[in-house]
Symmetry: D2
Subunit: 291 residues, 4 copies
């Protein structure tokens, strides 16, 4: 029997699962693209087996990590007849690391608990590189003893784990706040570069100034250089960044909180998505800002 099941080997999941394997864990994996799962197993001989279905993976291990990138993908895999929930029974542990809505996380928790399982939401702050480097930040809520059981794994995949209580949804709410702020910061950078270029100044010079001042951050340095150089290979796809802005604005709506700057940013990201940059890195929003 495997130590853990890992569902979802996308941009983020593959790095996370790799770090679990490196930490000595035996994995059973499943992802929609069977070839990807096969390749991952081949790269970790003896440590990883491929399950034919998500349900089979969940059944094969006491503890399952899910990392599916959209609400649609997550729901499809969780609720399918041969999906995650179908395999949950008493004592089964599920840790979901996706960025979904707080409401959906709470629903999943209730469904798992109704079948005697335990649930921890653990959305991550960080994108492709932090996932690969084991530098993610986990924003968790749910069953406290599951958190303790999972902690060595979380430590293998990340550099910090925060716990916001037993009430599932709190982690996702925090994640939305974080990603909303990130989306707006990226829009801020994009409009700054666009104005700079339109003014006849060098975008590189602009990013250089930002890197010397109070705004200096890995985000500014990395996304700034990528925007100026028009390098849009996806670290965190634009359509996912826009999804998080949408979720955050909707969360504000439910709470009666106006978020005019996030809403304007959301529209800018939508424009970029409409122009075909949805699958590019989120920094491609600069293309919408440029015109």
């Amino acid at each position: 029997m495997a130590d853990v099941a890992f569902i979802g080997l996308g941009i983020m999941g593959v790095g996370m699962a790799d770090n679990l394997a490196k930490a000595g864990r035996k994995l059973v994996v499943w992802t929609r693209d069977a070839a990807k799962a096969r390749a991952f197993a081949d790269a970790h001989p003896g440590a990883v087996e491929v399950a034919p279905t998500a349900a089979h993976a969940v059944r094969t291990a006491p503890l399952t990590y899910c990392m599916l990138s959209t609400l649609e993908a997550s729901t499809a895999v969780f609720d399918a007849p041969d999906g995650v929930l179908a395999a949950v029974g008493p004592g089964k542990c599920v840790v979901d690391c996706a960025t979904l809505t707080p409401e959906r996380m709470a629903e999943m928790a209730a469904a798992v608990r109704a079948k005697g399982g335990k649930f921890l939401e653990a959305p991550v702050s960080g994108s492709k590189k932090p996932a690969a480097d084991g530098q993610l930040i986990f924003l968790t809520a749910g069953d406290a003893d599951l958190l303790e059981a999972a902690r060595p794994d979380l430590d293998a995949m990340g550099k910090a784990t925060h716990y916001y209580g037993a009430d599932v949804g709190a982690g996702s709410r925090m994640k939305l706040c974080v990603n909303m702020t990130m989306g707006v910061q990226i829009a801020a950078l994009a409009e700054g570069i666009a104005l700079c270029e339109a003014s006849g100044l060098s975008g590189d010079a602009f990013v250089e100034v930002l890197k010397q001042g109070a705004m200096s951050s890995p985000l500014i340095a990395g996304k700034g250089a990528a925007m100026v150089g028009r390098q849009y290979a996806p670290q965190f796809p634009l359509e996912h960044a826009q999804k998080d802005l949408r979720f955050a604005v909707a969360a504000g709506d439910k709470l009666g909180l106006a978020l005019p700057v996030a809403a304007a940013s959301n529209e800018l990201f939508k424009r970029a998505r409409a122009a075909g940059n949805g699958g590019d890195d989120c920094c491609a929003v600069v293309e919408a800002a440029r015109k």
Copy 2:
């Protein structure tokens, strides 16, 4: 005769002039509030004298630094009968460190040059603390030999000096790009904290997560803590941050560049100004975001 004249001892100017004095420069100073000028001179016995007018200060030194915080204040002091321009003659050097419009900087340069003087625009990136610590970043354009003459002073007041060519206005344009991006970033942080608090989560916990991730920056750490703790003592007054957003959006207008996120941020800052937070630190924009 003094080495340099320094016009404007506001939040920023006092730190800058202090660093010039510490570097051994003899100063003649003028600022609108005579008591402030007197106090500054008293704090630097033997190194600083107070001029009765701006013109007198300019006449008393070969090189003048101006640091007046608004377009109105700058214009009033520059154009007054006993102001800066009145005292400019052949060879007189003027370095203006304020954040004004590119157009106004070009006008001032033309006026100084018409009277035989030299002009360098040198708006700064950085606020109260970097000014006090000699950690400003100068974004300069104008007479290259004046830049070389002023460089030891700029090095005493800052940690980096960028030069964008002889065409005065380029430095202010870069400054506007920088401050626009900063204004939007602060709005991003404010809305993030407001959403976090409205969600029943701790603003401190939110800032903690940001500090561990890709967005980590001195701005996030400093302004984040101030917003959560509602500490609004002015480092960079909100009304000035809003002024820069306004100038940046207007610059985009002239260039035919839409800046929807900056425009939305500008309106949020205006709301904070309208609510009475204009003289507070710019991070008080979180008050407008909270409701």
Copy 3:
């Protein structure tokens, strides 16, 4: 047996049902507040009976009109064990006049059709007074023969009926476009009045000018006077206007269409809602614009 069932006697429904009664139709009604249903029946002796449940009403008549004001209320009444769907069987006709999402309308149509019933979506353009005056505009899609059967009723309740094909959802999509435009127009008027008043000019004088020019419309005249006079008795509640803006922006999101002005308007309406104006007329958004 009654001619028609009418579910939902809110601000709009009461006027609509009244017009059906005036046209000589025998009604069976149900609404959540039994006292309201009772009062309505008492006002129409011999023509209206009160059903104990929505299901009972639906069973009692061949054709049912639903007019429930929110997605939540509509869903609750439609799906309840003693709700609308429970009573649908072969040949039963349902006309839903609420403003819901296109997706929800399609779901309801599918559910009704699956049980052998017929479904017409017929959201209305118009608010309290047009409902009372039989001047609504129906934006319909669905079963064409049900439309023909319902036409005399629609004519009694409205002044125009548009049909957008068999594909349920098209009527709701048109409705969202209409209400989004209305929401933004109301925001436009609110900001105009706010600027006018802040400029020291009379809001009444402003509305007077609008009424003489190309923008002159019943909306401008009615909402303009109400905003200036701060008369917020609900014709079309602000929280519903905001809901429609939210749905429209979300529809744009799905279609990849940025709607920055609607999104900004949505946030302004949210701010008014947060300030406690959710139950007031939508023109109370001027309160949020004023400060």
Copy 4:
């Protein structure tokens, strides 16, 4: 000697001057394009003469109407050595019908009065067709006796004249409020049509619904049909509509009033301008909304 001088025969001015001629007034005209002035005179034999300069026109008549479409054009013609102000002397009357900033109008009034002249600001609500049809609305402020002297002319050119007191600037402020609201309404219509089309519905059907409801107005009917049919021949050029939005947002800024919806609309108009629609009719903003 002519009865009146008319300066500026653009899209609006030509219709206004034509109505003065039809009312029996002898005109002396000047406009930047001499061929246009010539053509206008040729079309009104015996009633119109062409002046070689604006100053000459002003000198030739006791009363001058100015209708120059931008702040730049107005300033250039007003302040030029052979411009309007140069020819003002005691008793000379100037009525300015352009949409400028309140501040500029007040400056012009002060300059005219300083030379013994009288000044009335009289910006108009209405575009090309109302100008041609004598259906403009004048929003005036300034010298009350000049208003009475000009009233027959204003009645020949318009259908209503409002007076907001002696304080010049009030008429322009009212005009800004009106045009801001119009700009946002046009943006509202544009986004509505864009969403409608993206939803697979007919834009014509959408405009039809609007024309039957509370939003029905000449603006909706005219601009709606033009947007759907992509007919952008300029009635009121987009770049002027955007200029008015910019002025209005700036006026709000001075007053400490946030105008988030107008600001978002301004950015949408800017995008259209950037895409090359500046000289088209303002309804071409729908092109920016469509993508």
